[in-house]
């Protein structure tokens, strides 16, 4: 009886179709946003913000992007790392061409480059499906990684073959580069993620989201009811790559400060696919939960031994955390194949009927 939506009558279509039709959800989201925007910057340490919260935000956005493609449209992609790289390198080139433009605008614009590249590599998706498509997107991943090393123009011909983030200011406050404070970067990342998530949530409620889900559930049937398969799939690739590209640009400009080809390798793609599946395919909430779990868990595992006063060799800790992570992934999949988002739904249902079993 903690969570009751009985008695909340809607008297207009607008109220019925609202993003959060239930009062508790509205309160919940307001509290979360309040904590994220006000509570965290006031209380959290620089270490927490820099090595836990900002990465989680970046990965949440990338996972959201992949979720739009894999979870909502049913197209399995292993090229996420590559598309993130396109965003990052595009943003870097944009800062060299337009040094005076607002950096946030550039980060968002770099998403369009990723979208264009993603659309090109999405072209085979009409002919091929499932794991075949996954391998086709691997072609994108490997080709793009190769470009990030070989095309020297992308990193302005510097010797280290890496991109360094220049210091940019906004209203006199350093936003990117080594002098920017973690709190500033965190707030900007949070704003971008919140904005794009809202956009994604609305996209999913509308016509576009419904056509995507129709294609996911059965593409032949979707075609028969008049959905243009090719446009729909390419749009999914474009939007998904846009999100990944923005996430990649954020990763370099707001988190790492510098990056090279290795930062956008195949492992990155797998990591994000992990987050999406552990979090829950086809759930925006799941992208956040998955990112938090997959990024947070190894940190907790690494910190745990020293916390309990046990001193273990750091390499051993690393390897043990691999073993535990692998076992946990299998465990989660067995317990709840639909991901953490589904666990949350079950939890909500339990709160609804408590103290009765059903």
């Amino acid at each position: 009886m903690f969570y009751r939506e009985v008695g909340q009558y809607k008297t207009s279509y607008g109220a019925d179709q609202a993003l959060f039709p239930i009062l508790q959800d509205r309160i919940g989201i307001a509290v979360i946003l309040l904590i994220a925007f006000v509570g965290v910057p006031l209380t959290a340490s620089n270490f927490t913000i820099d090595s836990i919260l900002i990465p989680i935000l970046v990965f949440s956005l990338a996972a959201t992007g992949l979720n739009l493609l894999t979870g909502f449209t049913g197209l399995l992609s292993l090229g996420t790392g590559g598309f993130m790289g396109v965003g990052a390198f595009a943003c870097y080139k944009l800062t060299t061409f337009f040094p005076n433009v607002n950096i946030i605008v550039l980060i968002l614009c770099s998403g369009f480059f990723a979208a264009a590249v993603g659309t090109v590599f999405g072209l085979p998706s009409l002919r091929i499906k499932g794991f075949y498509l996954a391998v086709a997107t691997l072609a994108a991943q490997f080709f793009l990684s190769w470009c990030f090393i070989r095309v020297q123009w992308l990193y302005n011909y510097n010797v280290s073959a890496s991109i360094e983030v220049p210091t940019k200011t906004l209203f006199g406050l350093a936003v990117t580069g080594p002098t920017a404070s973690p709190v500033t970067r965190y707030l900007i990342a949070l704003s971008i993620v919140a904005l794009l998530t809202l956009l994604a949530a609305n996209l999913m409620r509308g016509r576009i989201g419904r056509t995507w889900m129709a294609v996911r559930d059965m593409d032949l049937a979707a075609e028969l009811i008049g959905i243009r398969l090719y446009q729909t799939k390419l749009l999914a690739f474009a939007v998904s790559s846009f999100y990944c590209g923005v996430a990649g640009a954020m990763m370099v400009f707001l988190w790492l400060g510098n990056a090279e080809s290795e930062s956008f390798s195949i492992n990155q793609s797998f990591l994000i696919l992990f987050m999406v599946i552990i979090g829950g395919l086809g759930s925006l909430l799941g992208s956040f939960l998955g990112a938090a779990l997959i990024w947070g868990l190894p940190i907790v595992l690494r910190a745990a031994p020293s916390h309990f006063g046990v001193s273990i060799h750091s390499a051993t800790v690393e390897q043990t955390s691999f073993v535990i992570l692998g076992a946990l992934i299998i465990f989660f999949l067995i317990v709840e194949p639909h991901g953490l988002a589904r666990l949350w739904q079950i939890g909500k249902q339990k709160l609804r009927v408590w103290p009765f079993p059903y």
């Binding site: 399995l76 085979p124 002919r127 091929i128 499906k129 499932g130 794991f131 075949y132 391998v135 086709a136 691997l138 072609a139 490997f142 080709f143 990684s145 190769w146 090393i149 070989r150 059965m218 032949l220 049937a221 028969l224 195949i266 797998f270 696919l273 992990f274 599946i277 552990i278 395919l281 390499a315 051993t316 390897q319 043990t320 955390s321 691999f322 073993v323 535990i324 992570l325 692998g326 076992a327 946990l328 992934i329 299998i330 999949l333 067995i334 194949p337």
Partner: protein
């Protein structure tokens, strides 16, 4: 412009004609790496055919089995006994995978099973490094009496060099494929395997034990992984980097089709040869290192014309 066209369409062929020994050498190297890709792909195909699981862990199984073999030998176990023990370890792994991963996840969508093998990959990487350490190891080729050295075959002014270990790999791969073909087509187990591949439910209803079949295919894939590990290990050394090379098996699978054993072999050879030829003759044009993605592009172009691969079962979609 004409210069570019010339260097794409004419110059490589002129080079091929001018130095047939180099061409033959490149072809041979492509063939050998193709066969090694094919061996990894074979492991994938075996499991995919019988359980519909896309086993991402095949690459790490290769590394893990080779590490077990070398590690046991380092602890003073004689080479052949170590080989036998490693096979026992792979059998134990097959039982464990069936019991812990496959049985609870039966009837789940394939992407979930795919993810589970991912978990298995992480688990085995961690476990392997914990037990054997993360450093590359040298394969015990001498103790296993693998041939070393090479033959030189003279050819139009130059010569073609063939490592004996490569020839051995080719022969072992052929024997293995023949054995698997016999197993699949001529034996009772093979019939059961094919039945399971067609439909889990129908196979169950005629009294085939799914659990047994899964253990058998995972064990077979483990043995294939061990053979692959020995061959790869003898050529370079045994390290976790092999796991990334295993990803090269994916374009091979696409080319050959996910369900075809001969497809895996022929696909492997096409990819291996195509990649080496591409790198050698067209690579300088683009800057080197195109080996890392060239195979995928071959596979991609191929997919556009034949979405089910060379020998894959035809994809029929119904509403």
């Amino acid at each position: 412009m004409t210069h570019l066209l010339y260097s794409i369409f004419i110059d490589p062929f002129v080079q091929m004609g001018a130095a047939p020994d180099l061409l033959a050498q490149t072809l041979w190297e492509g063939l050998v790496s193709g066969i090694l890709y094919a061996l990894i792909a074979l492991g994938f195909v075996l499991i995919f055919k019988a359980s519909g699981v896309f086993n991402f862990a095949q690459g790490i199984m290769v590394v893990f089995s080779a590490l077990t073999l070398v590690g046991l030998n380092e602890h003073g176990v004689p080479a052949y006994l170590a080989l036998a023990l490693t096979i026992v370890v792979m059998l134990a792994l097959a039982f464990a995978v069936e019991r812990v991963i496959l049985r609870p996840l039966v009837n789940q969508p394939e992407i979930i099973l795919f993810m589970a093998t991912f978990g298995l990959t992480y688990f085995l990487i961690g476990l392997g490094e914990l037990i054997f350490g993360g450093d590359p190891k040298v394969m015990i080729s001498d103790q296993l009496r693998l041939p070393s050295g090479s033959y030189r075959i003279p050819m139009s002014g130059g010569y073609v060099q063939m490592q004996k270990i490569d020839i051995a790999a080719t022969i072992i791969a052929s024997i293995m494929v023949a054995a698997l073909a016999v197993l699949f087509n001529r034996t009772r187990i093979g019939r059961a395997l094919r039945a399971v591949a067609d439909s889990h439910r129908a196979a169950l209803s005629v009294g085939i034990s799914l659990e047994q079949i899964w253990v058998i295919v995972w064990f077979a894939a483990g043995v294939v992984a061990l053979a692959t590990g020995i061959m790869w290990g003898a050529r370079s050394n045994v390290s976790f980097a092999l796991q990334i090379i295993a990803l090269k098996a994916l374009p091979v699978l696409i080319l050959g089709g996910f369900t075809s054993i001969p497809g895996a072999i022929i696909g492997g050879i096409i990819i291996g040869v195509g990649e080496k030829i591409g790198e050698f003759y067209w690579g300088p044009l683009l800057g080197s290192g195109i080996e890392s993605w060239f195979a995928y592009v071959i596979a991609l172009v191929f997919l556009l014309f034949r979405p089910q691969g060379l020998f894959g079962e035809r994809i029929i979609e119904r509403l």
